[in-house]
């Protein structure tokens, strides 16, 4: 009944719902996404993993392994290997990893792997692959800095260079005005 209710909620935006049987055992779906817009060398990238259980039983002994960031990447925060004791049916878990690419160019980022037991009476673990990210085009650091750095020193030098163009006409103006003000005083 509860499952029906949840499906009805999810299906509220949809018309006729396809009769898709929810698996009796636990079934985990993992999506791997990043919201980082700019992929550049030595710039932090956050990957978010969302794990949903669409089955009717809890998934037990869930182990998450991410091996994509072992070479040419450094992990800033988050764990590449983590585990959960159980994930309840119709619930979801989120995991985040912040990584930093140390090499520029096109890099292929594939899936993370989950191993879990689909029900309490099964001893075998199921191996599940997350959605893969695809090819990430990491732009080199100098190009990134050229576009996105604050360029503070450049602005300072620019302001210093504008000073003569402003100061010189002002001094000339002052000289002319001084003549008339002196006449008034007289």
């Amino acid at each position: 009944m509860k499952l029906f209710g949840i499906f009805a909620l999810i299906g509220s935006a949809f018309g006729q719902e396809d009769a898709q049987q929810a698996p009796v055992e636990a079934r985990l779906l993992i999506s791997k996404k990043t919201d980082t817009k700019i992929l550049a060398e030595n710039v932090d990238m956050t990957f978010t993993y969302k794990i949903y259980n669409i089955g009717q039983s809890a998934a037990l002994d869930v182990e998450f392994t991410e091996e994509n960031f072992a070479n040419d990447w450094s992990i800033v925060s988050g764990d590449a290997k983590t585990s959960w004791k159980s994930i309840e049916p119709d619930s979801s878990v989120t995991h985040e990893i912040v990584v930093k690419p140390s090499k520029a160019g096109a890099q292929n980022i594939t899936s993370a792997v989950l191993n879990y037991r689909p029900s309490s009476d099964s001893e075998e673990t199921v191996r599940s692959f997350s959605s893969d990210y695809g090819v990430a085009n990491i732009i080199p650091e100098n190009e990134f800095l050229r576009n996105h750095a604050s360029h503070g020193i450049d602005w300072l030098i620019f302001l210093v260079l504008t000073i003569p163009s402003i100061l010189f006409p002002y001094m000339l103006y002052n000289k002319s005005v001084a003549r008339f003000t002196k006449a008034k005083k007289n």
Binding site: A13, G15, D18, K50, E124, V126, D132
Partner: protein, 252 residues
Amino acid sequence: MKLLRRMLPIAILGLALVAKAEEFDEEIGDDTVQVNEVLDEDEGEDMGIVDEEESEVQINTYWPEATITAGKVSEVLVSVKVASSAMNRYQFGIIEGGFHFPQDQSYKVQNFSSIKYNRDLGSGQEATFLYPFVAAELAGGRSYGLQINLAYEADSSPPRQLFASVVNQTVEVNENLDNAAAEQFFIFMTFAAFAAIGFFFFASKFSSKKPKAAPVEVGTGGAADASWIPEIHMKKSDTPKTSPQSRRRKVD
């Protein structure tokens, strides 16, 4: 007698039709028997293969967001599981989809980009595919039939190309309300401008028609007030009023 005469051709036609129908029925009757037999022969094999395919790969979908908004990226998560009893390996290839009219499957309204996943799964393994798509901005505000298909391949001795319809349902696409406030403001301003123009137009039409009395120009009478000019400029000039040329002529 007259009646009979009139009815005769119709009666003959009717009889002929009935006879033909009976013939037809008999033929069909025979055919159906034959067709049934043919089906029965193959039924075991066909159904067997279909059963095997269907039970070896189980496909489920999950929508992280319950609504589809036009102009924004919507995602569907497709989970495929290869049964532990499966004999073959499966390569999961392309997911593609589109919108079609709710009543008419063949009339495509929008095609989504197909995405190629190269995922090879053996028995007992599962994978999740993330399929993002964008409903066009103009699709907002009505419902369409959403169809998403997955094409994959079985690694059997002749490799089998398989095709599964992952999503096949009517969905409501919501309008993109990001700019709704700005659009409403500009519509209001347009109406206000038209109202103002109309108001001033009719106001001038129905206002008093008496023309304003034109002020009569008199012109400057008397000499101008020269008191503001400093004295230094008011010296009378000693120069003669005639030109040197004319003065020279007079002398000559």
